[in-house]
Symmetry: C2
Subunit: 151 residues, 2 copies
């Protein structure tokens, strides 16, 4: 597929932002606040920013995001991706799913054993964006609570 | 909307994984490899893992991801979210977009001034997942090349 790239690459192995295009920004802000997430002081009326480790998480109006990306905003059904929040035990999966539901999330899959040996469930945020809550015994969390893949 | 959460929360402000549900895993692997991204040795035949700062990035078959999340796999159009790769200058935006196209990506928006004062363009990966390439003078990159939002 690809023409070989010559010389030094500019791109590095990094994701800077994940931006969700939401239907009702106030509703989404309230949900993530109820989860206990604190907005950056860099947030603005039209966009909410949250630091999440080395990645920034943003909430922005769906129409505005589509317009910025130069694509039609129409679309429905499975968005084709998931976000995951990994925790340190099966019990923490269950507790976190309960917290997400208490915050106004919708339970999509109860916490249960996964075929690959972990334990996970899913909740949906107000727009239906899917969050997996997962205990993965094969990828332990580092001291900051983030997954560190084997090199 | 939300019932107040009592006691100590389990959930923290963290994103562990971003998983894209792709139509052709081999094609997607080839694209990200052509971008210069190196897979973790924890990758498996059915799933590709990449460390991207504190977040892990994964490629997984779309049907399998929907099944894992317990949702129908049907869906089309704008997925409602974007990933972003921030760089340190306008020139680096242009260079990175060129690299992405050379790797087999599709140019969705040329690098150009954004209304908010930055400079950005977009490319799409083989499934149409949107990557913004952005120079944001208001959110400088840290020494590791990641955005650090103001607290």
């Amino acid at each position: 597929m690809a023409a070989p790239l010559h010389g030094t690459r500019t791109i590095k192995q990094a994701i800077s932002f994940i931006t969700l295009g939401v239907r009702d920004l106030a509703r989404s802000r309230a949900f993530y606040a109820a989860l206990g997430w604190r907005e950056s002081s860099g947030s603005q009326p039209a966009v909410a920013f949250f630091q999440a480790g080395s990645v920034a998480f943003a909430l922005f109006a769906r129409e505005s995001l589509a317009e910025d990306a130069n694509v039609p905003s129409s679309g429905s059904g499975f968005a084709g991706f998931t976000l995951a929040h990994n925790v340190a035990s099966e019990e923490a999966v269950v507790a976190t799913l309960r917290e997400a539901v208490a915050a106004g999330g919708r339970l999509v899959r109860e916490g249960e054993k996964a075929p690959w040996g972990g334990f996970r469930g899913y909740f949906a945020d107000p727009d239906g964006f899917l969050w997996e809550v997962c205990f993965n015994p094969f990828f332990p969390l580092d001291e900051d609570g983030f997954v560190r893949l084997p090199a």
